[in-house]
């Protein structure tokens, strides 16, 4: 891992067009600004990891009988199906 010391308003540049800038520092937290091209998604690590774990768990579920599962669900009627 590359490690840098940065002060407030200082930045690092990653590759072509990604900038990570320190906006504010505090005792336990740092406020960071990320500038990236539109096609580069930027996420908080812990949120991405939580969604990844949930997806992997959902994709791994073996399902015996969908009709049996569907019968026990509490669902509201479909209003306007999207074409």
């Amino acid at each position: 891992m590359l490690v840098f010391t940065r002060r407030r308003d200082e930045a690092i540049v990653i590759g072509d067009g990604i900038e990570v800038r320190v906006l504010r520092t505090g005792k336990d937290a740092v406020r960071i600004g990320v500038t990236a091209p539109h096609d580069v998604p930027v996420h908080r690590r812990e949120i991405y990891d939580a969604v990844r774990a949930a997806n992997q768990s959902a994709a791994a579920v073996p399902v015996a009988s969908l009709a049996e599962v569907a019968a026990r669900l509490r669902l509201h009627p479909q209003l306007e199906p999207v074409e």
Binding site: H38, D39, P41, H43, R44, I47, Y48, A50, V51, R52, A53, A54, N55, Q56, S57, A58, A59, V61, P62, V63, L66, V69, A70, R72, L73, R74, L75, H76, P77, Q78, L79, V82, E83
Partner: protein
């Protein structure tokens, strides 16, 4: 115009015939399945009330999903400008929202915190990741 050839999709919920027009591209895959970029939306009576989102690349992940409106009427989650640009949303157009369902022996739950959104005009999709939504990632679906 000649009708496009249909595809036969084998899922763990059965084998279904789908139209190539029902293929959705996720430019970055889905978290956990980043290398699967193309998914097909499978709707069939045998799957009701679910829609199956079935990956046709890489590890071919397969999800059951539900319209979040059927779980929580009035469901709404904001779409960030960056996500709108990624999906090519130009105006107030109808988007397709899907929530990933998780089923085990005892419970069925749905992820309302990170819904999947698709722009049907471009058949482009992504999974929304909100830091500050009040919806739960494990919203219970079972009757009491």
């Amino acid at each position: 115009m000649t009708p496009s050839a249909t595809l036969e999709i084998v899922t763990r919920f059965g084998t279904f015939t789908v139209d190539p027009d029902d293929i959705v591209t996720f430019a970055h895959g889905l978290p956990g399945f980043e290398r699967c970029r193309r998914f097909v939306l499978v709707s069939a009576p045998a799957l009701e009330p679910f829609t199956c989102l079935h990956g046709i690349d890489a590890s071919e992940p397969s999800f059951l999903t539900l319209d979040p409106q059927r779980v929580v009427p009035g469901f709404h989650t904001p779409l960030a400008d960056a996500d709108r640009r990624r999906l090519g949303v130009e105006r107030e157009e109808a988007l397709l929202w899907l929530a990933v369902v998780h089923i085990d022996d005892a419970t069925a739950r749905v992820n309302l915190k990170a819904p999947i959104v698709i722009n049907p005009r471009h058949m482009a999709g992504l999974q929304v990741m909100n830091a500050d939504t009040t919806y739960a990632a494990d919203h219970p679906l079972d009757r009491d």
